[in-house]
Amino acid sequence: MYVWIWRRLPGGIPGKLLGCLILLFAVLVLLFKLVFPWAEKRLPFNDVTVDPTTRTSTPSPAATP
């Protein structure tokens, strides 16, 4: 996969390196801005509340036993 991308990047070695950096940056932005925030809501690491159902957004323990 990486070889395939490397072969297709234009501009000789400097152009290819620059292309790599741009692609890497784009992938990181995509991951940190979209993919990870999306994924973390589906994973339990951020559960810190006590809640009868354990996974609702706004528990109100005073109202729901």
Binding site: M1, L31, N46, V48, T49, V50, T58, P59, P61, A62
Partner: protein
């Protein structure tokens, strides 16, 4: 035409290379997935803190403006269901966790509320009120306000600043009840945040002014909840400062 069987055909040679390409592809895929998971860990433990820092900064500015603005009443005089979700309600100080430790507590314990700071369980008492001021906070992600919750000890103070007051709570077993200063409970143990905690009736009328913290436990897991209980011991009207902030915590 007899050597056809001996000489490997171009097609077969191509087939061998196909296997090599496939193996290399699988290897690269596995490495990529490993790097992805590592990046996710970096995001969770470190990246999420940037968001919270920025949000806390905003909340601080807003709450200071509100306090200086004059017209809004002190949060301790409001009815509990009258605070908009996501707004800052008080500033939290915990001397045990450092001289500079402070967080704006936001109303609500939804995902987006807790991304911004420790969150007040809606419907539970507000600072200084009779009942239980219950707050949830992250322990490993989003600037982890309750990262060091396990360092809190019996006798430590928790101070809440509102517009006109400093409310000082002390971590201790609650007198006349079965409420311990610290407990580790199942994630479904909502009774820790009841107005009268740790008994089955959520509607039981409270008489004491309590505070409860919840966070995840063990650290980096969400299997259980770490819970701290405290009781109001001082109410200083500004500009008088609370003793808990002017004296060092006992070692």
């Amino acid at each position: 035409m007899t050597d056809l069987a001996v000489e490997p055909s171009p097609a077969r040679r191509h087939g061998g290379e196909g296997w090599r390409t496939a193996a290399r592809g699988v290897g690269q895929l596995l490495i990529t997935m490993g790097v992805l998971i590592l990046l996710f860990v970096v995001y969770e433990l470190w990246g999420t803190g940037f968001y919270t820092q920025a949000q806390q900064h905003k909340l601080e500015t807003t709450i200071e403006q509100q306090w200086r603005g004059g017209s809004a009443p002190d949060v301790s005089t409001l009815p509990v269901d009258n605070v908009p979700l996501g707004t800052g309600i008080a500033v939290l100080f915990v001397p045990r966790l450092g001289q500079h430790y402070h967080f704006v507590v936001v109303e609500g314990t939804g995902f987006s509320d807790l991304q911004r700071g420790p969150g007040h369980y809606p419907g539970t008492a507000l600072p200084g009120q009779v009942g239980n001021f219950a707050v949830a906070g992250h322990r490993t992600t989003y600037e982890h306000p309750f990262k060091d919750i396990a360092k809190l000890r019996r006798g430590d103070y928790i101070v809440l600043e509102t517009k006109e007051h400093w409310f000082t709570y002390r971590i201790q077993d609650i007198p006349g009840t079965n409420i311990p200063w610290k407990e580790i409970v199942a994630p479904t143990a909502v009774q820790v945040a009841y107005p009268v905690p740790d008994q089955p009736d959520p509607a039981k009328a409270p008489t004491l002014k309590l505070l409860t913290f919840t966070s995840c436990h063990p650290e980096y897991s969400a299997r259980e909840r770490y819970v701290i209980h405290a009781i109001l011991v001082a109410d200083n009207v500004k500009p008088e400062l609370p003793r808990a902030l002017t004296t060092k915590p006992r070692s």
